[in-house]
Assembly symmetry: C3
Homo-oligomer: 388 residues x 3
């Protein structure tokens, strides 16, 4: 997994602390804080967030160790190899497997158990420039299920000093003084990377415009592994808006890491999967084909991944939207041809692209999928703040 | 109180978990979770919210037992007979008395005492489709005064996926994965019941449009009992907007459960109490009369319950509003004729229907009434999450 | 410091509880609560916020004493001489020094240490009638870093019952029932004082329109003392919008308390420092002069305090704004003439009045200044809730 440490943004995250390192001696804790990118995954470093005294931190580490000795797998204090969660490309197969193992541990944590306190004392700032109740609540629940605390801005774009013309970088430099980790949603592609390059604390990208939404990609793969028990050699049908849905694009990318996967693209003409992903899959030796026959694909696939046709992308072209929207619906008929072990997934929210009568079928996995977002985010918060 | 358990929505809350029960074995904790409607009022069940292991839960129960042994009355773990708080009609007189007893215990809880931790580890989601700072803060304060945590959406209507066309049911199925109880405010009458029929966790109706606002009704009755020391044989004057105020309607409904109560309706012609309530009271043998003379009513009543004339209901008819608004004001003169033991109540906010110089009089109970909302909500959260 | 106790609003805060004292015996805890203005700084009193029983409170005090015996300097329980934080004028030099000492203690608090729990069980309500993410997050982080909890309203003006026409006083009387301290931001000058005159719990002014923003003033002085190691005999250049910036006005006011301070005003013609402050400084024997030469001032000053030209104050006069805005920029050239020990400060947010290439210089203190806001607010919350 060492390779994971050598990503470009990892390098940039080192350069980012230089200005701080130059800071005048006045603030020793500031100085230590500026180092946190290198140290923070170890319990010691993080404990110094408000302290200039090493002895304190050590005693603090013992306190933690004690408080969780019933859950030895937690807080072993080994550095997590990623500084920030910015894009699906960060994750190699080993890292995915390791993160999924932690997510499984998270599923087992019960209320008021030692595990439920492993992030006690840590503060997460949810900096949302674009409202997204689902994603925000999922992250905040994850933090609180682990005993951590949350600072919320539901509409940073309108409320924050951004309205007065402050740069994202300046906002980050201020917020990093208030919290231990930043979860950011932004309307501009690349904003998360800019934030991470500035911050001396971890940044998680909760979606940056048309760009990336890596935690969604992770929870999708985790759900497939959870539902089917495997990822190798599976057949996945991606259905609906494949042109605009960043979810399906990231998913296709991550699936390419597993051998013998076959992907089917089923979408209306106007929102077909773009060539970059097709070419990428081919280059990785991943089999894929386009199909106009949902029933046939559903009958052969292990996963039918349905997505919402996003009206907002059609603008004035209402007819195109209505035509695209009605084309591929997952209903009882589709269920009828699906295999017993197969599952239906959807990133949610859904309109009518999956009919409500499908919900009761055990193969309807989309609400379990949403719940898995909780465990994946718990795992990532735990790994970024206290390490393995 | 067994009867209370046989309400229709209680039945529906059983049917609601069927789809989950059918869910494939993959997720044992999901399965247990889906059962929580039957078990959750016992401490064990709830402790399994993230667990598949019975032994854990038992140990957890002991931990809780220990942590509160100084306050034996808490968490005795007996099931609360209600699954959700949806409408005033749910409460028979015995249930009211029992809830009020718990509310009295809540008043005695001090900061950092064992009692202040009985909801530690529990997560409440406040899903507000319509902003209501007063009600939201009251619920969130109640949860935090008991050591619980909160996920907030101040404006779900605009921010949540509802904007993208997601159904309330889908939103609930997602949010129930993040929290242990949902407090919902909605603009549509009946929305709370729909949410409860979907959710596998308790739902509290914090007001659904013109529909119900049961916790307000409870705190009103609790305040009368608290202020007068009794509910039997009291005389209550309902003043102001009786046509649109759901508060006075629910209050009249609940008062009918106590013997020898007499109710006076004092309101402008345009916003008179509707016939359904009058007929209901008559059918229950509750004496009532309409009066145009506030002074006379005030001189005989134990409770003068003033309400705000709601401008928003008059639309263009500004004159009607102004006329209705000025008609019945509670001022020093009204105070002058009231009995020494009588009290003035108001659901708040108030405009000028009670003059400010009345506030200093001991009989002005409306701010104590607001504070009682805290204790009633603490009691309900405690009962729904950990039982008697 | 006794003098500090004899402020006019302190007197008013006594009169404010009279109505409550008259309250009927029904609610003993209410009665005690109403006294809290006099007692609350002692640990006992506050512990009664939900209790009517003295013996409880005593035991509670012991619990607290125990819980912090590793940090003896905390919670010694001596009354803080201020009831509310409303305006810079409240602070004499001794009080400032004492608050700064506590702020230094706050810098040393580490995660999960006893100090990080001194406000456990306390609830802060952030009542923001005007959004200000930076200030709100800073206060909420301060409360949570000390183990306290928060109730948030990001946009009270639009959401709260204020929209229905409720007076600020009524809102305060309701909110004081839910929380232990209120942090308020309002659009009207004087609103904080009105709130404090109503509330029986402490109120902190987080900015009231063109009025005051006392915690900003405190963190500015704290930062100077932190960066230079002294406040006596320093030379401070106030640059930019001196007419509208309440920050620089409060700063000038507080600096006048220290001997041999010299202040330079450097601003465009249209936004010059107003005469009231100039006259005040002269009356206090503080040397000051106006200058149009930023370079010369920068070369002699210990502190260059730059501010943003506030477009919103210029309305239609876009040309005036553009002219004013471009006039005095702090850049590498300015840095070049500044002394090695001098620092650049800015209340933030900044636009381009400080060029980004300045950030890396150790003398750029503005992000450390923002961080200091955390420690000052931690100190104030601690002092108002549990005393020295």
């Amino acid at each position: 997994m060492a390779t994971a440490a050598s990503y470009s943004y990892s390098a940039s995250s080192m350069s980012k602390v230089m200005p701080f390192r130059g800071a005048k001696g006045g603030y020793r804790n500031e100085f230590l804080c500026s180092q946190s990118k290198f140290l923070r995954q170890t319990v010691e470093s993080k404990s110094m967030f408000l302290s200039a005294d090493n002895k304190y931190s050590r005693s603090r580490m013992q306190i933690r160790a004690m408080s969780v000795d019933k859950a030895p797998s937690f807080s072993t204090g080994n550095k997590f190899q990623l500084n920030d969660i910015l894009e699906a490309q960060q994750f190699d197969r080993d890292t995915l497997t390791a993160i999924f193992d932690v997510a499984r541990e998270m599923e087992k944590i019960e209320i008021n158990s030692p595990g439920s306190q492993i992030l006690k004392g840590y503060l997460m700032a949810t900096l949302f420039y674009e409202p997204s109740t689902r994603t925000r609540l999922s992250f905040e629940s994850s933090m609180k299920r682990l005993g951590g605390e949350v600072l919320t801005t539901e509409n940073a774009r309108e409320y924050s000093s951004a309205a007065k013309g402050e740069t994202l970088e300046d906002t980050i430099r201020t917020v990093e003084g208030y919290a231990d980790i930043i979860v950011m949603r932004h309307f501009e592609s690349g904003a998360a990377k800019r934030a991470a390059n500035t911050a001396s604390i971890p940044v998680i990208n909760a979606g940056d415009g048309p760009g990336q939404h890596p935690t969604q990609a992770l929870l999708d793969v985790y759900t497939i592994e959870r539902e089917l028990g495997k990822l190798e050699g599976i057949k996945v049908g991606l259905v609906g808006d494949l042109a605009n849905g960043r979810t399906v694009r990231s998913l296709a990318y991550l699936l390419s890491k597993y051998p013998n996967v076959k992907i089917y693209f089923v979408s209306p003409e106007v929102v077909k999967m773009k060539d970059d992903i097709k070419m990428y899959l081919t280059s990785k030796g991943v089999e894929w084909e386009e199909s106009a026959d949902l029933m046939e694909v559903a009958s052969t696939c292990d996963v039918v991944y349905q997505t919402r046709i996003q009206r907002e992308r059609f603008g004035e072209r209402t007819n195109d939207y209505e035509k695209a929207r009605g084309k591929y619906i997952v209903d009882k008929a589709v269920l009828g041809v699906m295999q017993k072990h197969a599952v239906i997934m959807h990133p949610l929210p859904r309109l009518d692209e999956i009919t409500v009568d499908v919900d009761e079928d055990p193969r309807a996995a989309y609400f379990r999928q949403a719940k898995n977002g909780l465990y994946i985010r718990m795992a990532l918060l735990k790994l970024l703040l206290v390490g393995w």
